[in-house]
């Protein structure tokens, strides 16, 4: 192999090298062209169109439209539905991110130490990730039924009052958040398990020699610091996933009761694809983008560092 490289690199091999450069240019452009064209068509051009639309009053099917400057942004700021949607989305995120990260970390640590039962627990906790959320949301709806649902029957048996999880304004977002956590614990757990198996064992042995053999000492001195990058990545990914909550709202509550579960993506869906207020929906999409962008950039940055073989 080395001999081959030696043959190419010296000055003596100039003609084939320049021919090679041309081939690389030609092939490189050819290979990248379909991806580039699709990138422009499905990503970049739509984003430009989105920004353009947000300054107009375009509605689907309208023959004419005019520029309205920042009017849409002003409307969005004043719109009670949008304000509520943003608050609800942030509340949902505030529950799902810590819950989804910490619970999956706990589960991963507990499963990691198991030998015979590890794969069984892995399968059980991962199952919701692969299942179709819409189908499972329907089942959750049954389980949470205020009078007939299994969960309320258990609560009643324990002496608690019947709880209308999905029709009580103060409970609906926490309930959806619990389902959100249910859906992503397995995914985060798998990432944490990978992080845990990358921790060298002698670090634990070193801590044991220092006399800190209590599990909590071991966790604080080795596991937590060593899992830092994984925790960061999982947190960022969970944030992005949580911020995009849509499915459970669309199927289980449709924003109700009384707007208590309106979330940003659902509001965009309604404005854009049900009421066809295209320019307003474009504005809202930009707001949505602004919220996720910080975390997406962080995720891409971490991903760029993390993925190497």
């Amino acid at each position: 192999m080395n001999a081959i490289i030696a043959e190419i690199t010296p000055l003596a091999a100039a003609p084939p090298a320049s021919r090679q450069r041309w081939i690389e240019r030609f092939a490189g452009l050819g290979f990248a062209a379909p991806a580039f064209i699709l990138l422009v068509l499905t990503n970049l051009a739509p984003l430009a169109a989105l920004a353009f639309l947000s300054f107009t009053n375009y509605e689907l099917g309208a023959l004419d439209f005019s520029f309205v400057g920042l009017k849409n942004f002003g409307t969005a700021l004043q719109d009670p539905v949008i304000r509520r949607s943003i608050t609800n989305t942030l509340l949902y995120v505030a529950i799902v991110v810590p819950g989804g990260v910490l619970i999956s970390l706990l589960v991963a640590i507990l499963i990691h130490q198991r030998k015979r039962t590890r794969s069984l627990y892995e399968v059980i906790y991962f199952l919701p990730v692969t299942s179709t959320l819409i189908a499972m949301a329907t089942m959750w709806q049954f389980l949470l039924h205020p009078t007939l649902g299994l969960i309320n029957q258990v609560l009643k048996g324990l002496g608690f009052a019947e709880t209308a999880f999905l029709s009580e304004p103060r409970l609906v977002i926490p309930t959806l958040a619990a389902i959100g956590i249910w859906q992503l614990v397995g995914f985060n757990m798998v990432l944490f398990l990978a992080g845990l198996s990358a921790i060298p064992r002698d670090l634990y042995e070193a801590v044991d020699i220092d006399g800190a053999s209590h599990p909590i000492d071991r966790f604080l001195k080795v596991t937590w610091p060593m899992l830092g990058p994984t925790t960061m990545f999982v947190t960022v990914t969970t944030f992005i996933t949580a911020f995009k909550i849509f499915d459970t709202v669309a199927v289980m509550t449709r924003g109700g009761p009384g707007g208590a579960s309106e979330v940003l993506l659902y509001a965009i869906y309604l404005e854009g694809f049900q009421y066809f207020h295209m320019s307003y929906a474009a504005t809202l999409t930009l707001v949505f983008l602004a919220f996720t962008l910080v975390f997406s950039v962080l995720q891409t940055f971490v991903l760029d560092r993390r993925v190497h073989y």
């Binding site: 081959i4 240019r25 991806a35 580039f36 991962f126 199952l127 179709t132 049954f142 389980l143």
Partner: protein, 291 residues
Amino acid sequence: MGTSVTIARPPAPAAIRMRRLVSLALVHGVLIGGAVFMLLPFVFMLTSAIKPPGEIFEATFRLWPRQFFGWQNFEAALSTAPLLRFLLNGLIVCGGILVVQLLVAIPCAYALAKLRFPGRPILFSLVLLGLCIPVQAPSLPLYIAFAELGILNTYLSMMMPFFLSVFAIFLFRQFFKSYPDEIIQAARLDGVGEFEIVWRIVVPSAWPAIAAFSIFSVVAHWNDLYWPLIVISDTKLATPPLGMMYFADSELGSNYGALAAGATIITAPLVIAFLIARRHFIAGITMTGIK
């Protein structure tokens, strides 16, 4: 791990065994409690699918019904909604998306990893930019464009926005970068063209990355509701999640047994695939680590 700890300690066998037993019980207690929560909707779905209407919401929960009603429920589900058609649609859409994604992303990733051509740094920056944009962001202009072109309510409209996966390009580029240059140079000297180098030499070595991405892609698009909900209004073209939504909204929505049977049919393919190829799923998630 556990054994090395016990060796280091002064022996007090009975006390140590007691403590281990307690902590073991505690660990399994927590894990089993969590597992019950995770499995709850699945167990409820499977048991309801074989129960007669009167038994589903009975005060005492039973795993097996007094009267087996499975045939009736599945028959009612299959005769009211074209559930198998939904599964076929899911297969067509996911398959179509995946094939085009691989055909487009692999050569581009190879070019970014191994070929020097003008515009390469810009293209890579655009790929990184694309990674930061959630799939829901371009949906509005794409919808308008598809409406103008008159291709709403087609398989193509469901697949088109996902033909380019910047994530696939990113992942494959990382993988290809570590492929030895010597082998590529040797192949070039043997007169092998770049096209053949990609598909015959480099791609077979990238099998783990391709498998990981394929699982990621199929799981994501099989379960996606947002985009099909936007472009599809014809029930016949519905993908499994959209079909499930129609089904729950239909007059059958109050027949809980049939609905549970329908949910079972919709959920089964991916869950069964996961149970069979568990290791690949988990390896795939670990490698891609992104939704």
